[in-house]
Amino acid sequence: MIMVQVSDLSDETLVEKIINDDQELFGEVVKRYQDKLERYISRLGSSKEQSQDIVQDSLIKTFKNLKSFNPKYKFSSWIYRIAHNEAINLFKKESKYQKFSFSDWLGEVLPSNVNVEEEVSDKIDLEQLKKKIDKLDLKYKDVLILYYLEEKKYKEISRILKIPTSTVGIRLKRAKKQFKEICQANM
């Protein structure tokens, strides 16, 4: 009999196993997604601690609602959407949309003994770049982060943000345009 490692299972099969066989296997979902979601939420605009809280709440919510997951869609899109909604709800509650600064976040996530300039001086000025991304409207920032940094496809972004695929394309185009304008203005 061939034994299949839990880590080898696809997300969707793993979810099926969690529901039907062993709920504690949800730990594997935590292992797979905690860091990814934390990184995504931080990029969206929250501090490190806040991201951790959001992700923990999202994971709990995911587990509670696991039986509502439709296996014909990708699990990763579903869990990203839950985390995204949690973050947006929290931002709205705290009106953090405008206040957040990517560079503040950078200061928090990087260890204090790291010299940012040295770390990024080889090719691009990362801090400058992130400051520019900060200036983007949130709706463009979302798409840009998901597409370029999280490397999600249009369809996945569409499911995470609950917008039509065509809108993802339009927003991405506008995000690039706005980003270009910001870069030109700073030259």
């Binding site: 529901i19 709920q23 504690e24 949800f26 730990g27 935590v30 292992k31 905690q34 860091d35 951790q52 992700v55 923990q56 994971l59 709990i60 587990f63 509670k64 609602n65 696991l66 039986k67 509502s68 439709n70 569409s158 499911r159 609950k162 917008i163 039509p164 695929t165 809108t167």
Partner: protein, 249 residues
């Protein structure tokens, strides 16, 4: 918080039974309630829009505007503002409910809104055209919905029953008979040819008196244009009680 810590925390909660998955029936119930809620909102919206069409058909409120400045107040009084507001609210609630469906994110909200609006308006229009209101209004429980008046302090609608020297006798759809005096200064954009059974809208002022036989309506304007389409044959009972008959005896 390390990944291991969170993993441990969550799995221990699961192990201790502190963290539980919601059962499948919870989601089925949610879906069923959502479906019923959406259906109810659609039905209410369609019925209210049907009432709007009915009110516009019976009163033809825009017709008052052809009678000059004095026609504005009857227009405001007979236009179905409240119904439109209710229809608008049900439209927005319907949109919010539809957005909870999985299919909704693949379509732009504006398309969903237009589709919803078209559904509500079309079903309302068809219900009214099919003459359901004339049947509904006879139903005991629906009578309060149709308890609209056919005359206000400065307006009324009805059919000409008899010509008089200074005007005509008007019968409202409810069966009230009222003497209407049309002075020389009255606005009559459609002439003064008062054929019997012709439907008219009149604006002016009711002259009340201690003696019921002296009650009359002094017309400042008489309109005979579109609107005011009610189905006489199906208006029975309360509608044809002729309870105002003594007003002209």
């Amino acid at each position: 918080m390390s990944s291991k810590y969170v993993k441990e925390k969550i799995t221990s909660q699961i192990r201790d039974g502190k963290l539980k998955m919601r059962p499948k029936w919870y989601f089925w119930l949610g879906s069923a309630l959502l479906f019923q809620g959406t259906l109810a909102v659609l039905l209410i919206g369609s019925y209210v829009s049907n009432l709007c069409f009915y009110a516009l058909r019976v009163h033809g409120p825009f017709g008052y505007l052809s009678l000059g400045r004095a026609g504005f107040s009857p227009f405001v009084a007979t236009f179905p503002w409240k119904l439109l507001l209710i229809a608008g609210v049900s439209l927005l609630i319907g949109l919010k409910l539809l957005q909870k469906y999985e299919f909704s994110y693949t379509r732009h909200s504006i398309y969903i809104l237009f589709a919803l609006m078209a559904t509500i308006l079309l079903s309302g229009l068809l219900t009214d055209m099919a003459g359901f209101n004339e049947k509904f209004r006879l139903h005991r429980y629906l009578q309060p919905v149709y308890s609209e008046t056919y005359m206000g302090h400065d307006w009324m609608i009805g059919e000409i029953r008899q010509k008089t020297e200074d005007g005509f006798i008007l019968e409202t759809p409810r069966g009230d008979l009222i003497r209407v005096k049309v002075g020389d200064e009255a606005i009559t954009p459609f002439g003064r040819n008062y054929d019997l059974d012709k439907r008219v809208r009149v604006i002016g002022e009711m002259h009340d008196s201690a003696s019921r036989s002296a009650i009359f309506f002094e017309a400042k304007g008489v309109g005979m244009d579109k609107g005011m389409r009610w189905q006489k044959s199906q208006v029975k009972g309360v509608m044809h009680s002729r309870r105002g008959l003594d007003l002209v005896k």
